[in-house]
Symmetry: C2
Subunit: 298 residues, 2 copies
């Protein structure tokens, strides 16, 4: 089973390092330089004070369609996805594809792919990238995964082999699976980025907690029937469990990188518009993040 991973961010590197224990893995990176570093020095994984090094193959991203793969994990951000999807459509190969993106805005384009087996996943590992090919595993969780098209068999070998040290959990309904993660991302990510606070402060500061609840209420008004009953408690739980962490969107803003706000709040607002619903506080939060991005971009 040949495994490809597109994207050399924290998640891509963690998947490459982990799966290369059992399968031949090639990780496709945006830069030639990163591919070279992985080839020569490997991926360094720090976890609970211990360091290990893994040596998957690595190549620049624009070459991925030349490699025959049985399955490909796509670990780029939403806004980097269109270019990858174009290449996937052009290729004559038809690997199983597993999409690891946050948000749900990729779901509509997934339908246009010719591939027989498509999966979406919600990654719950806490991983930071500390250097070109170095990652720090802060919290090992699991990867929730659901069939988008086809069936479980095309990647069941991976799911079975990787458990229990790198667990996957099959979910029956991809939509409610992604919605749960999206609710958390819609509340925690933009608020921590605008207010420049840790995840824990969102619930320890009573005014921020009210603000978080307001955003959650507007979110749930759009997806009420699909959202699980414990979604709000799950968000509070995540904030508590990851209290000292800075969210990915806060880190993006601080590092002047583009954020995933369009894939998260932008998607929620587009769904609300289709249902003729107004989400004034969430809309305001969207403008604030877009304004911060605009400022950083100037």
């Amino acid at each position: 089973m040949k495994v490809g991973i597109i994207g050399g961010g924290a998640v891509g590197l963690f998947f490459a390092a982990s799966l290369s224990q059992w399968f031949p893995v090639t990780v496709f990176t945006r830069t030639q330089e990163q591919a070279h570093t992985i080839q020569t020095k490997g991926i360094k994984v720090e976890e609970a004070g211990e360091l290990s090094v893994r040596f998957p193959e690595a190549a620049p991203m624009d070459q991925f369609s030349r490699h025959a793969m049985d399955c490909i994990f796509i670990a780029v951000k939403q806004y980097q996805l269109p270019a990858i999807l174009e290449r996937l459509k052009e290729s004559s190969l038809s690997p199983a594809l597993i999409f690891l993106q946050n948000g749900m805005s990729h779901l509509t384009v997934l339908k246009t792919l010719p591939h027989q087996h498509l999966y979406v996943a919600a990654v719950e590992h806490g991983v930071l990238k500390s250097d070109t090919a170095d990652i720090h595993v802060r919290g090992r969780g699991q990867t929730k995964i659901a069939v988008f098209r086809g069936d479980e068999r095309a990647i069941s070998a991976i799911v079975e082999q990787a458990a229990p040290s790198f667990p996957f959990e099959w979910k029956a309904d991809y939509e409610s699976m992604l919605l749960g993660k999206m609710a958390a991302n819609s509340v925690i990510n933009p608020l921590t980025a605008v207010l420049r606070v840790t995840n824990g402060e969102l619930i320890s500061n009573p005014y921020y907690l009210k603000m978080a609840k307001t955003i959650y209420r507007e979110f749930s008004s759009v997806f009420a029937n699909k959202l699980s009953a414990g979604a709000w408690e799950e968000i509070v739980h995540i904030c508590r469990k990851t209290a000292p962490n800075r969210s990915s969107m806060l880190k993006d803003i601080e590092s002047k990188r583009p954020t995933e706000v369009d894939a998260i709040l932008g998607y929620v607002l587009s769904q609300a518009a289709e249902k003729d619903l107004k989400l004034p506080a969430l809309q305001a939060l969207y403008y604030m993040i877009k304004g911060l991005e605009y400022k950083e971009a100037e």
Copy 2:
């Protein structure tokens, strides 16, 4: 005509320095130390590169009721007002009182005062306090003033004498006068404080401008019939004219001082609640400022 000024902030010092050219003025300060500095070294006023020094009388605030005054300008912030009002009620003297506060939440308590002549004013000078008794006049504007109770005569000597170098402009309707200023304060102050930007960025960044317009729309839904037609254009004009300035609320947040958010957004929200109106974006902004204050206070 004996003039008292309660409050040794930028506005109080500017009024004291200016009016002491024509009237015997006593400025009442929160600290003994500031009163001493004013008594011994005067108030230093820097304007357009020129420095002048004025020598009004000065005394600690808790002594103001011992001094017989013809009129008193009250230049403390909204949240410092209750203590002053208690003293004013206890005093047997009945000077004309001119309230210089932002916002409108003081209007209800004003009704409980026994004084014959009450005025409210909207100060449009741009003044910064640079040291204990030093101010920097960045933009000389005017003071809009309106009768709250009584008539114009009790302070007409001041208004006439001070023009044209320190102009007052009489307004017929105190409510729409204060509303215009409050609209600007509701939009510019909290947004610049949360986003940590200058007044100019609010209109040069297209996303912040949308956010500002959203807040303005919610504000105007509460006061539609009282708000002048050009109120939004006036806000844009203020942002353009004071583009490099940091708003007073932003400075309060940066200096970890309490802000005037309750007198501004808190008042708007209470008025909206009375009319059963929801202002979700403005409410969210209120929570964010309260959260910032809570954080600074911790």
